[in-house]
């Protein structure tokens, strides 16, 4: 980081089905919560970055930058960014660029998505925009299908069993139970995961993160100080389609973004006390842990079989438990890491967010001054 960037305030809506709230309502609610939490005057915000994927397709609303800016009395400059499910974290990355270049002193970052008003087939088609429209979609492939292919290959290569895979969602639900902002606060047994209906084999309903409405916001500043700082913000990319990759059972973008983020923050993975990682489908959590170096290839499930005392993984409930409003997730993960650091008085935490099947991966590392 070029200079110090402080995280001075966070806010979010409860994630869930909000049929009585529009995309605009969700943005406004999260933004107000973040400003209230930061205890700063909204007038000191000199730029806004909003991450959103599906505004046009599901809410017939583009121009989210100007839309959000109009919610503040002085209408600061605003931009909207899109990187599928990584839209939120890429918005944070963009805000860092504005701050590091001294274009702005204090930036409001928002991630927002409104998904449940459209019928599920429409949402699935819209989400498939994150895949490759020439190489993937024409065959009838869906996102669960893409991760179904990944899971089938992973099971073939490493002998992961259905029972093992079910531990992932069960743990995320267990964690979500104590998160008041989560969509699903009910415990789910591994057996229930194994018995839920098939979506794209071997993946079942409870392997998949849900369709969710929600927004999250944070205020980043160079001038307003706080004990929590952003130490690293890194983006890496890969091909959109699995067909152009040498391996299906490892995400190169996760490896790149995470190793560069650790380098930027001048820490190793062992310094981290909290990790929020992208578990859009249960298998993704396992592979991402391996690619970040927390387990050898094929052994990621160990972190779900045994609990680590030194590292919390998706303490918020992850995408499975909290729900996955695609543009909001990346911002929400960083807000959660900030909360977890404050509560545990630990020093470092990381948020890992990706778009598509890891076509974009964005990793942020937070440090708390103790």
């Amino acid at each position: 980081m070029n200079g110090e960037i402080f995280l001075v305030g966070t806010g979010q809506t409860k994630f869930g089905e909000w049929w009585q709230k529009s995309l605009r309502d969700l943005i406004e609610e999260s933004l107000s919560a973040a400003i209230a939490d930061a205890k700063i005057s909204p007038l000191s915000i000199d730029a806004i970055v909003i991450g959103n994927m599906l505004g046009e397709t599901l809410s017939e609303q583009a121009q989210l930058g100007a839309l959000t800016s109009a919610m503040l009395p002085h209408r600061p400059p605003a931009i909207r960014v899109e990187a599928a499910c990584a839209s939120g974290s890429v918005a944070v990355h963009t805000a860092c660029a504005l701050l590091e270049s001294r274009r702005a002193e204090t930036v409001l970052v928002i991630g927002a998505e409104k998904m449940t008003d459209a019928d599920p087939a429409h949402v699935a088609a819209a989400l498939m925009g994150a895949g490759d429209s020439e190489l993937d979609s024409p065959s009838g492939l869906t996102f669960p299908g893409i991760f179904g292919l990944v899971a089938a290959r992973y099971m073939h290569e490493y002998g992961l069993t259905r029972e093992d895979l079910s531990l992932v969602s069960a743990r995320h639900h267990e964690n979500a139970a104590s998160n008041p902002f989560a969509q699903f606060r009910n415990a789910v047994t591994p057996e229930a995961v194994s018995e839920s209906s098939l979506i794209a084999d071997p993946l079942r309903l409870l392997d998949c993160s849900p369709i969710t409405d929600g927004a999250a916001a944070m205020i980043l500043s160079r001038t307003h100080r706080s004990p929590i700082r952003l130490k690293a913000s890194q983006i890496a990319t890969d091909t959109l389609s699995l067909t152009e990759r040498p391996s299906m059972t490892s995400f190169a973008s996760t490896r790149d973004a995470f190793s560069r983020a650790c380098e930027e923050a001048e820490i190793t993975k062992d310094d981290l006390a909290h990790l929020e990682l992208h578990d859009c489908f249960s298998i993704a959590a396992i592979i991402n842990l391996e690619d970040m170096g927390f387990a050898d290839a094929g052994a990621g499930i160990r972190l779900y079989r045994d609990r680590s005392a030194d590292l919390s993984i998706n303490q918020s409930g992850g995408l499975k438990g909290c729900g996955h409003p695609v543009g909001a997730t990346g911002v929400k993960q960083i807000c959660d890491i900030a909360k977890q650091l404050k509560a545990s008085k630990q020093r470092y935490g990381a948020a890992h967010n990706f778009g598509g099947a890891g076509a974009t991966c964005c990793v942020h590392i937070l440090e708390q001054t103790i």
């Binding site: 492939l141 089938a152 992961l160 093992d164």
Partner: protein, 289 residues
Amino acid sequence: MQGGTILSFTTVRHPPTGFPDAPIRLGLVALDSGAQVIGQLLGVNPMIGDRVAPRMRLTRTTEQGLRIYEVAYESLVRVAVQDTFVFEGYILALTGPSGVGKSTVSKILSKALSDYVTPVPILTTREAKQGDDGEYRYIAHEEFITLQDRGLLAAATHIPSNTEDRLYGYRAEDITNIWKQGRIPVVVTEMHLLQGLSRTFGRRAILSCGLLPPGSSRRAMLSQLLHRLRARGRDTEESIADRVKNAGADLDFFTQRKELFDHLLVNDNLENVIDALKGHVLKTQEERA
């Protein structure tokens, strides 16, 4: 249009709007050119590693009536097997997790039915260990790979682990030689070996028996295996942990690939299992005669 090999496949239960409202099976196929594509898979039970050939298929019709054809991939192996397979004899395959007693059963059965059956030597790249009883033929890693490349193995499997990295396989010639003597080859397999054998000789050529450890639940079965492996005293504790882990996948295999098994037997009493197997073998012999 090129053929290729299946790298992975899945069945999309809820295809996108515009596609027929029925599950579609899609495969990620590595074409012979090296490029990879996603396409529909045809055929009943595809497996990762199967050879496929391209075929044009009508995938959907648009609202305007435009008929859209795409390349789909048809599993080749089984088509060929049905057309050209000459039935030479059959193989008795015993499949089950490590520690369930496959080798013991195979040994006793070979004695009890010495008029009919001959065990097939297992090729392995691992070191000889105390407790091995002549069932293995030890060869160097390079030699194994050469045999595999030359297509001389009927089935092979790679078992990576923390403690040892090993290859196992069966030579096709060993099996056909036993057939030539008019006898029944007996093999001890796990999931990959069984699939390989059924691909080489055809599923019909295998009298496939699964051996399960006793126990009313999965957990009970696994702990039973753990006890047996420890009692056997052949492996280190670390290697046992590895084997128990793999055993979980082996147990799942019985339910996931039911079509690969003719009989499932619980190995709670050795005599009963041997009697049952003897029955199955003799019955099959009669049917063939």
